[in-house]
């Protein structure tokens, strides 16, 4: 689509983490409504990139620009961020509804109480992740997958046009995984731009419009068929992965790269 606007522009971004450069000179642009899978081995800088985009880590150099694609100005609430593992106290006395309402804090504004509009947004967000009936449930009584979905709902309640999800499928049950996948499809209909960090190359190849392959720097960026070439994968993963290529596509072998198990085809005709 030629009329698509830019949703996110990352230019020559270098980020250090604990005194060590975790991401070097990353440059890429994401268009509004695109689905981008961010893949790479452990320590490749996936989480670092997300933290830099949302402002949790300072940039050593370069700049990150977020455009409220579709809305006229960049609002504080326009990035939804679901961290890898919520480092929150599950014994905190809040209900699921309370947690999701926290995503509305900027919408509600200072010195105000939630309006009907805010409560509707919370209901809608919980509906999207299939937790509507658990709205009054204390957070501590949810399963791991339900907690993950509650935090996704919180990001949805922000009504952000750009959503960053860091490994949302790690450690969740099958029901939650399906709910999240279903949700990702509906977000596409709403033209929400999604960046999703994942270990799962199969999912990246099948789901994403573009794949960002990282290993401390941007190794490849483009449509799955271009970014997930054997040479690029080899450069990103080195010895952590065994590849086999034939006319069916690329067979990836190794722990954690595939949703179904230890191996998967990621070629276009290999499905």
């Amino acid at each position: 689509m030629a009329d698509r606007c830019e949703a996110l522009r990352v230019e020559h971004v270098t980020v250090a983490y604990n005194g060590r450069v975790a991401l070097r000179d990353a440059t890429f642009t994401v268009l509004g409504g695109e689905r981008v899978a961010v893949v790479g081995p452990n320590g490749a800088g996936k989480s670092t990139l997300f933290k830099a985009i949302v402002g949790l880590l300072p940039l050593e150099s370069g700049r990150v620009e977020v455009f409220g694609c579709g809305s006229h100005r960049w609002e504080p609430a326009s990035i939804g961020y679901v961290p890898q593992r919520e480092d929150v106290d599950l014994a905190f006395p809040v209900t699921v509804g309370d947690v999701v309402m926290m995503g509305r804090v900027r919408h509600i504004g200072w010195l105000r109480r939630p309006s009907r509009r805010d409560r509707e947004a919370v209901r809608w967000a919980l509906d999207q992740v299939g937790l509507a009936e658990l709205i009054h449930r204390p957070l501590g009584e949810l399963s791991g997958g339900q907690v993950q979905r509650a935090f996704i709902a919180r990001a949805l309640a922000q009504e952000a046009p750009l959503l960053l999800m860091d490994e949302p499928f790690t450690g969740v049950d099958v029901a939650s995984e399906e709910a999240i996948l279903h949700l990702l499809d509906r977000l596409r209909e709403r033209q929400v731009t999604v960046l999703l960090a994942t270990h799962d190359l199969q999912m990246a190849a099948e789901w994403a419009d573009r794949v960002l392959l990282l290993n401390g720097e941007v190794v490849a960026y483009g449509p799955p068929a271009e970014a997930l070439r054997p040479d690029a994968l080899q450069r990103a993963y080195g010895g952590q992965m065994t590849l086999w290529e034939d006319e069916r596509g690329i067979l990836v072998l190794g722990e954690g790269h595939c949703s179904g198990g230890r191996r998967c085809w990621i070629g276009s005709s290999g499905r």
């Binding site: 402002g55 949790l56 809040v94 804090v105 900027r106 072998l253 230890r262």
Partner: protein, 660 residues
């Protein structure tokens, strides 16, 4: 009763004291809710103690005490904030808190009425509240409550999830300072009522009590305020009637309510920790079905072994199979298992070549259209890596077979011996046991423990699962170690390192219980997974430091037969070994699993055993490996009902009858 309640209030000082105590009880509990939720109890306590020098200075200079206290509180908060960039936060708090408190005591000691004043500051003097004091308390408490209500949702968000607060670009630092400021004001307000030593109890205990009873921040705050107020009032009355200090009395009431609700929440089953995750149901118990040697051996009579040599590996193996095709009966077979030998994923010479497997699959597919599984479990690293490296991945398309990693299979137990001859249960892959036609396809190799590895050993060792095959970190070291000179490998440190580095949980490794025991163990375990068809691909064998790092032997032969023991015994003799010197072949013969006497074997095919004979250079440790015979093993064998020892098989080139 009413008199009892109203009586004390006829005194104005009691009335003022009651008003101040109620306000302080409520405001401490409200702010204390944040303190409890953010785990700042120590900070609150420290702040309370740290205001003492400010109070002392104001007292000496005859300024309003609240002003001095507030100044000292803010100074202490700032000092802690600065210091925690240099040392840990709790250390910073400890340093500032004790230093300031000591300074306060020293300053107060210069006053004549030191003891009385100090006691008042430490434990409060609620009955000494002046009208002016009460007004100050009202203003401070009102201010704190107002700001708390105004910024409640932001303060809760920062307490619950600072990450989200940052992402939403809330001013997190400002909110943190706001909380510290509110805390300092609260402590100052509480000073006269309970004193610096006990203010933390009023901050922490009522919210903690409420936390046990309700599940949301708002109700928790309200209930805490109720408890705080009640404790203040009840403590004051107790102080009046029992003539005890009022501050400690209030704190004791708080503590009593906490203990009561702790008991109550236990009774009503309020969970303080998340429920445990559901435990997955245990897998269904595995059915055991062992094939016994006698049952699976096929027809009686003398075994016929094919020995061939053609222009290519594939043709050679195919020809060997054709020569014994009449012995292969697949009519009632439900599932065929083809077992190649991989050892490690990256050494073709040590592994079964895919072309040998192709010849076997071609032979099978001409006679059988049921399921065929090509399965192996490597000793190190990933079996799938081996399937990829050795070119097996196209087999499913070529022959409609299934590739399988036995290391990940369900298992059935098989009992062998440990090095002290105690029973030892190992796990073998269920697929191997349950396949009703097992084919072992492997190259002939010398071995580092049992002289030679051929079709029987290939099947047994592959069937033993190796759930820890992929111990990524240590595999390279382990491989490196295997390349060391043999004399070095046998030193105790090397042996220890080998044991530490070898894959965890490997039932393959557990099989190795010393040279006497491994040989009998192989024979015992072989009964569960006895091959129905043995194929030796001798296009290229391995001599010297087998089974992984020996040298190639271009031999260009293949052997096949339905008596694996006969195939292995014949192959061993062609490699220059006396079959009865190979411990596990000896035990297999004694257990009646097959024919090992070369004179009872019929050979068919392209060349005579004499022509095919090619002595392999034995493994460097072959001398030790021959020392497998032990009295203990013989006795165990007798107990198992083994046949009596057969007459010694003559050493030297064996020329079976029926040779071409």
């Amino acid at each position: 009763m009413l008199d009892w309640l109203i009586g004390p209030l006829t005194y104005p000082f009691m009335l003022r004291g009651l008003g101040a105590a109620m306000l302080v009880g409520a405001v401490c509990a409200v702010l204390g809710t944040y303190v409890v939720l953010r785990g700042m109890a120590f900070f609150g306590d420290a702040l309370a103690h740290a205001i003492l020098p400010g109070v002392a200075v104001a007292y000496l200079a005859r300024w309003p005490l609240s002003a001095g206290a507030l100044a000292a509180g803010l100074l202490a908060a700032a000092a802690i904030g600065y210091l925690q960039n240099r040392v840990r936060e709790d250390t910073a708090i400890g340093i500032v808190f004790s230093g300031a408190f000591a300074l306060g005591i020293v300053l107060l000691s210069t006053v004549r009425t030191y003891t009385v004043d100090l006691t008042h500051f430490l434990f409060g003097n609620v009955l000494g509240v002046s009208p002016a004091d009460l007004i100050v308390t009202v203003i401070l408490s009102g201010g704190v409550l107002l700001l708390t209500v105004a910024f409640h949702k932001e303060l809760v968000l920062v307490a619950f999830d600072p990450v989200l607060a940052t992402v939403l670009r809330l001013p997190t630092s400002l909110l943190r300072y706001l909380l510290l400021l509110l805390l300092a004001i609260t402590v100052v307000a509480a000073l006269q009522v309970v004193g610096v030593a006990l203010v933390v109890a009023m901050l922490v205990t009522p919210p903690a009590t409420a936390y046990l009873l309700v599940r949301r921040v708002g109700p928790m705050m309200g209930l805490a305020a109720l408890f705080g107020t009640f404790s203040a009032v009840a403590g004051l009355y107790a102080s009046y009637y029992l003539n005890i200090p009022s501050g400690p009395a209030m704190v004791l009431v708080c503590t009593a309510i906490f203990l009561a609700s702790l008991f109550l929440s236990r009774r009503t089953g309020r969970r303080l920790t998340p429920p445990p995750a559901a435990v997955p149901p245990p897998p269904p118990p595995s059915r055991t079905k062992f094939g016994r040697g006698e049952e699976v051996r096929g027809r009686g009579g003398e075994p016929v072994i094919a020995l061939t040599r053609r222009d290519s590996r594939r043709e050679t193996v195919a020809a060997a199979l054709e020569f014994i095709a009449d012995q292969v009966d697949l009519r009632t077979v439900r599932q065929v298992l083809v077992k190649p030998n991989f050892v490690v994923p990256d050494r073709q010479l040590a592994a079964t070549h895919v072309d040998a497997v192709r010849a076997v699959l071609e032979f099978l597919r001409a006679r059988y259209d049921g399921p065929i599984i090509v399965a192996e479990g490597t000793a190190l690293r990933d079996t799938w890596e081996a399937f990829a490296n050795y070119g097996y991945l196209s087999l499913p398309d070529e022959y409609d077979v299934v590739l399988m990693d036995l290391n990940g299979d369900e298992t059935v137990p098989v009992t062998v011996y440990d090095r002290h001859w105690r029973p030892l249960t190992l796990q073998v892959a269920r697929t191997v046991v349950e396949s009703d036609y097992r084919i072992s396809v492997c190259p002939p190799k010398t071995h580092d423990t049992v002289l030679v590895t051929l079709s029987i050993k290939n099947m047994v060792m592959g069937a033993l699962v190796n759930p820890g095959a992929v111990r990524e970190g240590t595999a390279p070291l382990y491989r490196m170690g295997r390349r060391l000179p043999t004399w070095l490998k046998q030193t105790p440190p090397a042996q220890l390192a080998k044991r530490l580095l070898s894959p965890a949980g490997s039932h393959k490794m557990a099989m190795h219980q010393g040279i006497p025991v491994i040989n009998i163990n192989l024979a015992l375990a072989a009964r569960a997974v006895w091959p129905h068809l043995a194929v030796i691909d001798g296009w290229e064998g391995m001599e010297g430091a087998g089974p992984g790092h020996g040298d190639p032997v271009p031999w260009r032969i293949a052997l096949a037969g339905t008596d694996p023991l006969a195939v292995d015994a014949l192959t061993a003799s062609l490699m220059g070994f006396n079959p009865d010197d190979v411990g596990y072949l000896h035990y297999c013969r004694r257990l009646g699993l097959g024919v090992a006497e070369l004179e009872n074997i019929t050979v068919v095919g392209d060349l005579s055993p004499e022509t095919a004979r090619r002595p392999f250079r034995p493994h460097p440790t072959a001398g030790q490996q021959r020392q497998w015979r032990s009295q203990e093993a013989m006795e165990r064998l007798q107990a198992l009902g083994a046949r009596s020892p057969a007459p010694e098989v003559p050493q030297g080139p064996a020329i079976p009858k029926g040779a071409l």
